[in-house]
Amino acid sequence: MLTMGGFYTLLYKEVLRFWRVGFQTVAAPILTALLYLLIFSHVLEAHVKVNGIGYTSFLIPGLVMMSVLQNAFANSSSSLIQSKVTGSIIFVLLPPISYLELYAAYVLAAVVRGLVVGTGVLLATLGFGSLDFVAPLWIMIFAILGGGILGSLGVIAGIWADKFDQLAAFQNFLIMPLTFLSGVFYSIHSLPPFWQHISHWNPVFYMIDGFRYGFFGVSDVSPWHSLGVVGACFLLLTGLTLQLLRSGYKLRA
């Protein structure tokens, strides 16, 4: 059962938490994405076109979505590990908050941070390329579902990790490779057949490809196909995260 009290307060607190340290949680990733854009577009803009689109314009949606995903993961995972390590998780575990409310609040706050950073990256990079926004609904659907998936993964990582080192390993050896090797910087059609095949097993590829479709109306695979994969991943991870929270794994002895 979802009651507004516990859920709404936890959501508010999680959003306020990242907003209080906005330089670190919002401004820094926007600057990082902008630097990627400046460097890659300077080197490749004159030489590369993807599906008839200039490289800088092609890159912008990829960077936006990558920022959404990485920051959604960072929000839920860092909040949980920090409160576990300091012991302040007790303030969330003592009140009558259901596991469903915990899940919804942490993941929704992760989506909010992802969207705030993603919007910031979009605004900061808009003047460098030419974006068409041909299907805004697809843009929103993939941003929200992608943020939800990485927010759920963040909850899982935050619950599983006992120390910051373990969380960093999860982030650097799983999340980073999945996002960097997902077509943010290239179309997978430019890859050799073997790597194209491998890329089709990376769910982040479908998030980026579907998201980019919303801007240009062209993509490596059908947006419906991407929606199917992303939707299935979301449901699967939601189920897994809810099961973890319900069992009290590493939260309630």
Binding site: K13, L16, S88, L94, P95, P96, R252
Partner: protein, 305 residues
């Protein structure tokens, strides 16, 4: 079927056991705390006090047994049970992103209470925190952070309040402020469960006391009865240093003081006569009551009746 007393119980613990690996933290604990009681839960480190409190609060799931708070099962009806309970944790924990007032408003919100400013102001005033209401938690001293933990446990006006070593490492002023406020809440009908290593606090505050050892309740009685189980008084004498060394004292204390337990005042004359007969010269005499610490030590050493 529950007895009328059980139905009135603030806390009811039935056959609760919990094992962590090789350690049996709780071993078939049965306990009832009546509504409005000021109840002490004592025991050495590792006795199972914190595990029992964690089980009450739903932070730990017992391997077996059942716990209810104000008649609400802590597992099956956890939402209702947690609304009845306020816990002041032992560890000094805080969320560094927020001020004191924000912390309390957020904690209220977790319990579904939106407009709680009047009660928050009252708690802040009673815990001498008003001047720190807008200070960030990071900037507070340890004692102030401890006060905020107490305040957080009270924001939803729980009928049952658990204080897990609330005065560990805090100054005299906070202790006095805290106990004044907690006593008032107890007089207003709140049930208080206290764990502490300061046994004089438990003796002066608690109506009833349970003592835990190795996960079992080894004593459960009123504070008065526990004290009466052992010699209720002690005779302390300081013997002259040049006197003969023979003594029948229960324990010798540095500086020549010796302690003799007795039950009735009529025994004092006999004790003094015996000392005179053995050739000892008494320089000073004190008569005192056996305190909870004596009872605690004897029970933990297995000398209980």
């Amino acid at each position: 079927m529950q007895s009328p007393e059980s139905a009135l119980a603030a806390i009811r613990v039935e056959g609760v056991s919990k094992r962590y690996g090789q350690i049996q933290a709780l071993n078939g604990v049965d306990l009832e705390v009546q509504r409005g009681e000021f109840f002490g839960l004592l025991g050495p480190n590792g006795a199972g006090k914190t595990t029992l409190i964690s089980s009450l609060a739903g932070l730990t799931r017992p391997d077996s047994g059942r716990i209810s708070i104000m008649g609400r099962d802590v597992q099956g009806d956890y939402r209702a049970a947690r609304r009845q309970l306020g816990v002041v944790p032992q560890e000094l924990v805080f969320d560094p992103f927020f001020s004191v007032r924000e912390t309390l408003k957020i904690q209220s919100g977790y319990f579904g209470i939106v407009d709680n400013d009047d009660w928050i102001d009252e708690i802040l005033a009673n815990l001498d925190l008003t001047s720190k209401a807008n200070a960030n938690m990071r900037t507070l001293s340890g004692g102030m952070k401890r006060r905020v933990l107490v305040a957080q446990a009270l924001v939803h006006r729980p009928p049952v309040i658990v204080l897990d070593e609330p005065t560990a490492g805090v100054d005299v002023e906070l202790r006095q402020t805290l106990w004044r406020f907690i006593k008032r809440l107890n007089q207003e009908g709140h049930t208080i469960i206290l764990t502490t290593h300061y046994l004089e606090e438990a003796e002066s505050l608690c109506h009833r006391i349970a003592m835990l050892k190795a996960g079992k309740v080894i004593a459960l009685d009123t504070t008065e009865n526990l004290l009466d189980q052992f010699s209720a008084h002690t005779l302390r004498v300081k013997l002259s240093s040049d006197a003969a060394s023979e003594s029948h004292a229960e324990k010798e204390i540095a500086g020549g003081w010796q302690t003799f337990p007795f039950a009735e005042f009529a025994e004092v004359e006999t004790l003094l006569a015996r000392l005179r007969q053995s050739g000892q010269r008494i320089d000073e005499i004190e008569i005192g009551k056996t305190d909870l610490e004596d009872v605690f030590v004897k029970l933990m050493q297995g000398q209980g009746h």
